[in-house]
């Protein structure tokens, strides 16, 4: 199978073609915060500034707020109506870390009961990856088995090779899309070599590391060390940024909104950083901040892999870059007070 390539100046043409079939989402700073937003049909300046979005692309599948259904009361009683379900999103230039994040949280939304809102959007979407050639110093994806410029979690993978992007067909869905797309050229051996070099160089740029060997046991052994967790949590202000903007955090809340006899049930992102997240009328198992910080760390690196055999972190570095008090997960994991015996 030979790969394709597309000239950078032809990206507008490419996206225009895809816009006929899909809602094309590209990195945008229009709202003031870098996020994947609907392409305006002309602007491709993101190719110059884009390293990664602040808001992870999970927002296109698990939106910060999403209507689940609408309800209305008339003389027959309550009637429930589902919102229109016509998502056909194409995410252009998703990073390998964020594509992996979706593959990771798929497990949660498929487990036992299917989550129709998340899974229907996932099923209809096309992911076009763009290799990271300029990762941030807070990134540590290579420690989680992710290469910044390679991905099998996307449908098509693009690599910057100068004036062109090399285009690799990863899935059948990607192959079908390319078959219907015009303006692509066959990649040459020289293009392939350039892409290979770019990928290797990108991996080399990731210098921050974590050690995940035996991480579950280390966390379980450190679980009851209250002094340690209090120390780790001391500067946390429970703002929730590290979870709400984490590409693998999926916790949500469900609430109703009512105006007269009409209302909406919606779900919105929630965070284990907030005391109300676990609050019951009579008690709260995680009222204390250190318990909430412990939950966040242990869920990602302990409980989630205990359930789904994969760590719920991709090393995207957002929680490090965006934390207002410079809390650093890599430091926490490096300083676990591991005891000889696995504690209960």
């Amino acid at each position: 199978m030979s790969n394709k390539k597309v000239s950078k100046k032809d990206i507008t043409k490419l996206l225009s073609q895809w816009s006929q079939q899909f809602t094309v989402l590209v990195p945008s700073k229009e709202s003031g915060v870098a996020e994947m937003a609907e392409w305006d049909g002309k602007d491709t300046s993101f190719l110059d500034w884009y390293r990664n979005t602040v808001v992870p692309p999970k927002a296109s599948f698990l939106p910060p707020m999403e209507e689940m259904f609408h309800f209305q009361k008339d003389k027959e009683g309550y009637r429930i109506e589902l919102p229109p379900n016509e998502h056909k999103q194409l995410i252009f230039s998703i990073r390998p870390c964020d594509a992996r994040a979706l593959a990771i949280i798929d497990a949660n939304f498929k487990d036992l009961y299917q989550d129709p809102y998340y899974l229907s959007k996932r099923k209809s979407a096309v992911l076009v990856g763009l290799g990271c050639t300029n990762p941030s110093q807070s990134c540590f994806c290579t420690s989680l088995g992710i290469s910044p410029a390679e991905s099998t979690d996307v449908d098509l993978m693009l690599t910057d090779i100068g004036d062109q992007f090399l285009v690799e067909e990863i899935t059948d869905k990607g192959k079908e899309l390319i078959a219907k797309t015009s303006g692509l050229k066959e990649a040459t051996k020289d293009d392939e070599t350039k892409a290979k070099e770019a990928k290797e160089a990108a991996s080399q740029r990731i210098t921050r590391k974590i050690n995940t060997e035996g991480i579950i046991d280390k966390l379980l052994a450190s679980f009851d060390d209250k002094d340690y967790w209090e120390k780790i949590a001391a500067k946390c202000i429970s703002c929730g940024v590290c979870t709400l903007l984490c590409p693998t955090c999926y916790c949500f809340d469900i609430n109703d909104e009512l105006v007269r006899q009409e209302g909406t049930r919606f779900r919105s992102l929630d965070s284990c950083s907030f005391p109300v997240y676990t609050k019951m009328p009579m008690e709260n198992p995680r009222q204390e901040k250190w318990r909430r910080v412990r939950q966040k760390v242990c869920h990602k690196f302990g409980f989630f892999p205990m359930s789904f055999n994969v760590i719920a972190c991709t090393g995207c570095g957002r929680c490090i870059r965006l934390c207002p008090v410079n809390w650093d997960i890599t430091q926490t994991l490096a300083s676990l007070p591991v005891k000889a015996e696995v504690g209960k």
Partner: protein
Amino acid sequence: MTTTDISPSRFLAQGNVYLPHIVVIEKIIEETPGVRTLHFNFKDEKLRKEFTFQSGQFAQYSVFGIGEAPFCISSSPTRHDHLEFAVQRVGRVTNALHRLGVGAELGFRGPYGNSFPLDFLQGKNLVFVGGGIGLAPLRSLIWNVIDNRDRYEKIDIVYGARTPADLCFKYDLEAWGKDKTVKFVTTVDRGEASWTGKVGVVPKILEEAAPSAKNAVAIVCGPPIMIRFTFPVLEKLGFTPEQMLTTLEKRMKCGIGKCGRCNIGNIYVCRDGPVFSYAQIKSFVSSEY
């Protein structure tokens, strides 16, 4: 009332799991000043016939416009001409449930979670230990067991509340008191002039009643403090952690293991529970229960 065998299969809703079924309140029993039982039925005729659940399972009930909250199904699957749940008035949704009247419509999703292990309980002596509204999940199982009385050996029930006015399900208490096949003790923490029953906290009265641990299983549900003090008494009576069952409660939103909040370590109370043995609880990573 109809009595039937309980289907072991888990009833799984078709389609969008978050869409509630509409149920109608048929009867309301004011149990105590803060607790009421709601009897309800599905609006949909077909669902009314096909719906199945098992003792110990819970559901998400919604007051449209206010929100959803989880409660166990407190009636027995052996008596399915209607369903019941009991609500203590403590928060936003429960206050709304206390304002509703007969004929009001609710949203219902479920049943969710695991259930009391009937196969394990069969042929055993059963010791039920309940406190306050904690009798709700137990009474589902107690009636289930009484309706299949020959499958079980001795039945002991110890039930208590803070004061005589706080005793829930008084009609059940009366029925069990009269049932010659059941040994039933009721107690209050603080008595009053007209109270002729026992006075003392549930763990103390349980210790006095001293049911044998031989071929027995204890099923405990009540306020956390009662549960914490009951397990050591049962251990003293010779019950092993495998012989003690309880149901746990957590804040829940989805009810199906997805929204995150009801975890105790890697265990999700909604997905893996709410029924656990004390042996399981002791093996939990976290003591946040």
